[in-house]
Symmetry: C2
Subunit: 199 residues, 2 copies
Amino acid sequence: MADSPDRSDSDPDEEIMRATYRALREHGYADLTVKRIADEYGKSTAAIHYHYDTKDNLLAAFLDYVLGRFKDSVHEVETTDPEQRLELLLDQLLVELEDHRDLLIAMLEMRSQAPYKETFSERFQQNDEYVRYLLETVIAQGIEAGAFAEVDPDHVARALMTIVDGARTREVVLEGDALATARQTADEYVTAVLLEDEP
Amino acid sequence: MADSPDRSDSDPDEEIMRATYRALREHGYADLTVKRIADEYGKSTAAIHYHYDTKDNLLAAFLDYVLGRFKDSVHEVETTDPEQRLELLLDQLLVELEDHRDLLIAMLEMRSQAPYKETFSERFQQNDEYVRYLLETVIAQGIEAGAFAEVDPDHVARALMTIVDGARTREVVLEGDALATARQTADEYVTAVLLEDEP
């Protein structure tokens, strides 16, 4: 996710989302206030509340926004070769996050609140379903094309998301190269499970 | 981790740790107060503060306690056959948690605070190093015995912990069978990477 994409600044929702992103990166979720988002937005808290009545609603919209940005970036993956497409998806899920540790920190804080906040829980569930749908689709296409072994696409998508979510948690909680380790692990898993009959 | 192990009730530290565990299960990390721990302990907050000067110090001690309990349970794994021992370790890291979703929720909340709290960060780092050491040791023994392929034990241990941490996060954030999916994923990974030369 780029800091300052060249988009029209006339859309208040887009501007508020970008202000929320900057405030989350700077303060983290626990110390996030509408005041701090308003400061990043350059307007009053009333200007924020005009669009979003509570902080939780704003953050729910932010999670939708993050998913939307992710969807946009996925649409840029133009290759239709299943093996290559799967690699590029895994790159986007893991490698692209290397410069966004502060966003990963804020997202993990929000994820940890999912059991208490239905609005968060729904979004994380939807995001996960969407990404698994992308993975399942490319896996099913690879099986169809004879490029992948005849696996259960649902299980393999869940397995890959387990590796992705493990990396995202470890990148926040522990020192070290969690994303690179996970990228290698995902490759080993794909090679073993999907390409097992390949030469 | 059992709720009420049959231990001596005369050790105040042990009693406070068990009270902390119950308070965390009931209220979660964000709503945890020393008062609520004291209520579980059946004594005043002063009685807690006599042993732990701050809530964070108490929680740091709690993380040490959880690791201690985990170490105790690992010592019960008596088999020395590398393949079997690795399976049992993975069971303890994944399957044993199925009845402890409320503990997983509280732990994920604490993990998400690691970037802000050095005392938490240090403990999670130590826990991870300890578990990886156990995994590395059994992998190295398996290689030595000719039961496992000649892999890098450090990488394989990190890969397995990525799967474990992914499952723990997904179990909290998402619906579904995250621990069972991860257990199967870990098995597939072990079979592919460690047992690749086996018949």
